[in-house]
Symmetry: D2
Subunit: 374 residues, 4 copies
C-alpha cells in the first residue's frame, strides 16, 4: 500500500479562499493529509481553525519559523508545506521551510521580485527539494491535451497566440469598502502588482506550458481604470517569442460580465486550438480544410499525458478542484519517487519566470510601452 | 470540533467506477473517512483494494452480512455504509445493514421492484435510520436554484416539462464484447431494466425534485435499437401531473454524440428555466417580455438553498464530484443532527418512487404504450 | 439572357407578415417580379398596397377568381401566383388558379383537410402544373447538407429522430387581446388546427425531407395550456417509420424563452447530426469514436446539393430570407425547365402529407393518444 | 407611391463576390434597380454580365469615365453609382462620378491614401452629393442596439474596448496559387494594405460607430506570417481614445478555424456588451450585479434605432444580406429626402477616417510600434 503523506499549511485562516481549495483538492486527490499548520498571524485563529480541522494542538504553530523548526525536529515531520499567504510573505516563509529541508508548495505569484525568486531557487536546489508553484490551470486535462497536440507537430509551428484573462470583481473600488481579498490584492506592498501579478502570471504560464514557446521580448500597457487604485487593473502585453511567433495577452479585473474568463487560442501553420477555463472539459481544434472539432474529455481519444489526469467518464464535468488536485497528483508522485524528469507540475523555474514577467511588464509600461528583452 | 464520521463500503472493487466516485466525493466534502469494506464477492479483491485504501485488515469482510454483524459489534462501528453494487443486490445488502442499525447510502436505482423498496422503507422507518439514494444530479447548486425559483412562484405554475438524458455509450453491443459495465447494466437479472432504470430514474427524480410536481399518470414507449439486447436502450415517456401540467421525458443510451446529456426545461405561465448537466454552473431563465438571462453560480445572487451548496467563486467550474459531495454534505449533516425536516438529500421515498417509475414504464410499454395511473 | 418571370400574389395586405417575406425572398433570388395582386378582401387595401408596390392598377383585382380570369386572358399573364392567405381559403384560391392554368406557390399548411389536398393534387396533375408549398426550412443549405449526409449512408441507418419546434408567442391569450395573427391562427375555422398545423407541419416536413423516412404510425397528445383557447398550443407526437426507426416530435407555442426554436436531431447506427434553425449555418455531426464536428456553411466542404443553395462565403451568415429564396430558386428553375425530376422544392405531395399529419394527430389525440396508422 | 430609384455599377464582373452582394442587397431592400454598368475593364465581360442582368446594351459602358459622361447626359440618368472595384481604383472612379453630379456608394476601404480621401470629400461636398462607404457590419440591428445602449448612458462611460476580426482564408500563400481575390488583396499596388486595410478598417469603423469614441493615438504591430507575402496578414493595434478609454484591436487572416470572426466587446463602468458577427441576432449585455442577458432581435424590446432596421420576427435569423440592405435602406432614404442630419449610413468622413487608420498603423509599425497621434 502506498504511504499516505502528511503536510502542513501556512496561511488559509479565516476569510481565506485559497487555503480551503488546497485542502479540498488534496483530499479529492488522496494520498496526503493535513497534520500541522500556522493558519494566521493571530494564534487564536490558528488554534480554532486547526482544531476544527482535527489537528493536534501541538502541531499548531505561532509562526512559520516555529513551525519549520518544530516539524524539522519531529520524526514524523511533514512531507511538505503549503504556503497560501499573501504574495509579499511567500519568500520568507518558503525560505525557512526549505532551510529546514521541507519541500514547498507555494501559491502564485511565487514572490514579488526576481532576486527573491532566485534566492528560493538556490535554496531549493542546494537541498534538491521539490518545489511546486500552483499554477492551477495547467492541471486541466484538456490543457495537457492542447500541449500534447502542439508537441506532436501535427498543426505545424505556432504563429500567433491570443490569450486573455477577464474578471469583473474589481470593477468597483472594493478595496475602499473593506473587502479583504480586494484590499491585499490591490496593495502594492502585499501583492507586488495588480492584475498583472494576480492573473497575468496565469496567462504567461498557461501559454508557456501549452506552447513551449520561449518569450524573447515584450511590450506592456498597464491601465488603472478605477480611480485611486494603486495597482493596474487591466493590461495588454505584446509578446515576441524565439523563432518568430508572436503573442497578445490581455488581462482585466474590470471586465464586467466576466467571472473568471481565462481563454487561450493558439494559431499554427496548419491548424489552431482554443480552450476556455469556464468550459474546461472541451478543447476546440481546427485544421485547415476540415470541420472544426470539439474534443471532449472522457468522450474522445486523448493523449497519454491528458488521460493520466482525467478522472471520470465523458459528460461528467470536472472542474477547478479537479485541476487543482492534478497539480498535487504530480507533486505527490514526485515526493514519493524523486526521479528525474520530475512529473508534470509547475516548479520554481516557472514561478521565477512569472515574477520576471511581472517585473518586465511594469518596466515596459513605465517606459511608455517600449519593447524590452525578456 | 466537529466529529469526523466513519463509513464502510460494499462494492466498488476492481473495474468499478462509482465506488471511487463516492470515496472521492466524501473526501472532497470532508467530515467522514472510510474504515471498513467488502469491495467484492472475491475476498482477494476486497483485501487488496482495502489495503491500498489504508484500511485495517480486520475491517475487511467477506460478505455484506459479515460486515454488518462485525461492525454492529464494534464500539467504533461505522456511522454509515455506502452500497455501490449492481442494482439487483441492493435490497439484500441494504436490509442487512438496516437491521444492524446502520444508516445506508445506496446508489440508484434503489432496488429492482417496489416490494423490495417498500420493505427497505419499512426497515429504515422502524429504526428511524437515515437512508440516502444518490441521485447525484440534484446536488448541483444550479439545480437547487431552479427549484427555489419555481417554489418562489415568480414564474407562475408549471405547464410543461421537457427533460432528456442522452448517452451514446451503448450504441454498439458492448455487452457482447466483454465490457463489464455494459454487461451488468444490460442484464435484466442484475440491472432490472435498461435505460429506464439506469438513466430514466435520474430524469424522474430531477423533474420531481426541481418542480415538486406529483406524477399522476404515464405512457411509455421503450425501444431496443441494438439487436439482441435484452433491455431497452432508448425510451420516451409522456407524463401527466396533478394540477394539469404535462411532461415529456426522453432517455437514450444510443444517442451518438452525447456523453452524459441530462437536460431539463420547465415552462411556466410567465417564464421558463433550462439547465444542462454538462454545463452545470449555469441556469438559463426566461421571463415573458424580458431578455433571457444566464444565471451563473458564484457570480449571481442565488437563493440560500443553492448558496449553501456552492463552494468556490464564480467562473471556477464546479462539476460532478462537487454535486456528489453535496449529496453527502446534507446526509452527513443529518447523521450529525437527526432533527426533522431532514436536510436536502434524496431519501428512501425518492428511491422507491424511482423503482415504481421503472415498473410503470415497463408495464405501459408492454400494453402498447397505454396510459397508466402512477 | 434568362427571361424574367412575372408573378401575382393573393393575400399579403396590411398587417400581414408572410406576404412581404415572399416578395423580398423572390427579389433577393432575382428572376421574377410582381405584376399582379389581390392583396385583401378589401379592394381599397389591395389598391393601396398594389400602388405602393408599383403595380399597374389594371392588374389589381377584387377577388382571386377575377384575378385568375383576368390574368389567364392576358398575353403577358403571370407565370405563377403566390397564395399567402389564412389556411382555410387556400383550397378555393389555389383551385381557381390551377383551373386557369397558372402554377401556384402556396404557404403551408396547404389546406385544412385531406379531401381538399387530394382535389388540388388532381387539378395540378391534370394540367401538369408546378405547385410549391413553402416549407421554408428545407431551403437552408445545411438542411440540404444533412439530407445529403444521411443519403450517403455513411452514418448507417436512422434509429431515432428527435425534433422540436418551440415558440413562445402564444403564451398569453393574445387572440383575446385583438392580435390579428393570433386571432386567425387560433381560430379553428380559419387555421384548421393550432400548433400542430402552424408549426407541427414544419417538423413533419423537415424530418421527412432530411431523413427520407416514411411514417407508418403515430400517437399524439395535444395540449391547450391557455384557458379558453380553441386549438392546441402544445403537442407531443410519437412516430414510427417504415424499417423500424422511431421519432419524437414536440411543438409548442407557449414555450417562454423560445422565439422560433426549430431543432432536429437524427441518431443513426454510426453517427448523428443536429441542426438548429436559429443558428442555421452550422450542422453538428457526430461519428462514433470521433470528436464532434461543426460543419460550417461556406467554410467546409459540402455536398453539391447544399452548395447549389449557398450564396456567400463562410462566416457571412445566411438567414431566413435566403432559405426562403432557395425554395423559389428551385421553383423558378422548374418553371423555366419543366423536366423531371423536379428541382428540389416542396410540392403538393408534401403539402398533402402535412395535412394528413394534422388530421391524424387530431384523431389520435381524440382517441386518448392511441396509435394510428399513417 | 415611392419612386423606384435607378443605379449603375462599376466593377462586379466575373469572379467578383462583392458586386453580386450589393445587387442582391439592394433587391432585398427594394426601391432601386440596376440600369447601367461597367462591370469590367474587359468590354466583353461587361456586355455578357450586363445582358445576363437584363440591362439595355446602350447603358453598358467601356470605362467609368464613359459611363459617368453617358449617364450624366441622360434625362433618366442613374440616381447613384456603386463602385466595387479593387481599392486602388476607387478614387479615380468615384471622382469622375462625383464630378458628373452622381451620388456614390463605394466599397471600403474608401481609397488608398488620405490625400485621395480628402479629395473625394471635397468633390462630394462641393456638390452636396450623398456618399456612402459600405461598412456593412454597422447595418446589423443588434450593432445599432449596442450603439443605442451605450448612448443611453445606462452602462456608464466606456473604459475598455476589445475588438477582433479573425479570418483564416489567407493562411496559405493563395496569392501564389492564382486565387484572384487573394492576388489583388495581397498586392500593395491594388489593395494599399493587407489585413489592416481589408478587415482592420471594419474594426475601426465598428468600434467608432458603436462607442462614439474619438481615437487619440495608436500603436500598431503588423505581422506577415506567410513567407513572401507583400502585406501584413495579422495585426495588433493598441488605441487610446479621448477621455481616457483604451482599446485593443486584433485582426488576422491566418487564424485557422475562423471564417469571418468579427467580435466586439465594450467594457463600461457599470456594464458591458458583446456582439459577434457570426451570430448577429444576439447582443449580450452584462450589468454589474445582474445576470448576463442575451438580447435577441425580434424577441426583445429594442431601441427605435435598431427596430427601424429589423425586418422579421425573432428567431427568424437575419444575416449578412440584410445588414447590407440596411446600409442601402438609409442611403436610399437620404437620396429621396436629402435633409440633415443624414440617415444612419457610413459616409465619406467615416471612409476617410478608415484610410487614415491604415496609414497610421503602417507608420507606427514602421517605427517599431511607437505610439502616434491619430
Amino acid at each position: 500500500m502506498e504511504k499516505t503523506l502528511t503536510y502542513g499549511m501556512v496561511g488559509g485562516g479565516e476569510g481565506a479562499f485559497i487555503g480551503d481549495v488546497h485542502r479540498r483538492a488534496i483530499a479529492l486527490e488522496g494520498g496526503a493529509r493535513l497534520v500541522a499548520g500556522c493558519f494566521s498571524r493571530d494564534p487564536a485563529i490558528t488554534r480554532s481553525r486547526g482544531l476544527s480541522l482535527g489537528l493536534d494542538e501541538e502541531r499548531l504553530y505561532g509562526t512559520p519559523a516555529a513551525m519549520a523548526a518544530g516539524e524539522a525536529a519531529r520524526k514524523d515531520r511533514i512531507d511538505f508545506v503549503v504556503v497560501v499567504t499573501p504574495n509579499a510573505s511567500h519568500h520568507a516563509i518558503a525560505a525557512v521551510f526549505l532551510d529546514a529541508g521541507i519541500p514547498v508548495v507555494c501559491d502564485k505569484p511565487l514572490v514579488t521580485n526576481s532576486r527573491d525568486a532566485a534566492d528560493l531557487a538556490r535554496r531549493a536546489a542546494e537541498k534538491t527539494l521539490p518545489f511546486c508553484v500552483t499554477y492551477t490551470y495547467s492541471g486541466y486535462p484538456m490543457v495537457k491535451e492542447a500541449r500534447a497536440l502542439l508537441r506532436s507537430g501535427e498543426l505545424g509551428s505556432v504563429r500567433f497566440v491570443n490569450a486573455e484573462y477577464a474578471q469583473e470583481w474589481l470593477t468597483l473600488p472594493l478595496e475602499r469598502a473593506g473587502n479583504r481579498q480586494a484590499s491585499w490584492r490591490t496593495d502594492p506592498s502585499q501583492a507586488g502588482a495588480g492584475s498583472t501579478g494576480d492573473i497575468g502570471t496565469h496567462v504567461e504560464h498557461l501559454v508557456s506550458y501549452v506552447t513551449g514557446l520561449e518569450m524573447r521580448s515584450l511590450s506592456a500597457r498597464l491601465d488603472t481604470f478605477v480611480e485611486g487604485r494603486a495597482v493596474d487593473d487591466n493590461a495588454t502585453v505584446l509578446v515576441e517569442y524565439a523563432g518568430g511567433a508572436k503573442g497578445l495577452y490581455w488581462f482585466s479585473q474590470v471586465a464586467v460580465g466576466s467571472a473568471n474568463g481565462l481563454k487561450l487560442r493558439v494559431f499554427c501553420e496548419k491548424g489552431s486550438l482554443a480552450w476556455e477555463q469556464e468550459n474546461p472539459n472541451v478543447l476546440q481544434v481546427a485544421r485547415l480544410g476540415q470541420p472544426v472539432q470539439s474534443l471532449s474529455r472522457g468522450r474522445d481519444s486523448l493523449s497519454a499525458e491528458a488521460l493520466g489526469f482525467s478522472r471520470i467518464p465523458g459528460g461528467h464535468p470536472e472542474g477547478y478542484y479537479e485541476a487543482f488536485a492534478n497539480i498535487y497528483r504530480a507533486f505527490l508522485e514526485h515526493l514519493r519517487c524523486p526521479a528525474e524528469p520530475a512529473p508534470d507540475y509547475p516548479g520554481i523555474a516557472e514561478g521565477a519566470r512569472g515574477v520576471r514577467f511581472v517585473e518586465r511588464c511594469l518596466e515596459s509600461n513605465a517606459g511608455g510601452g517600449r519593447r524590452l528583452d525578456f
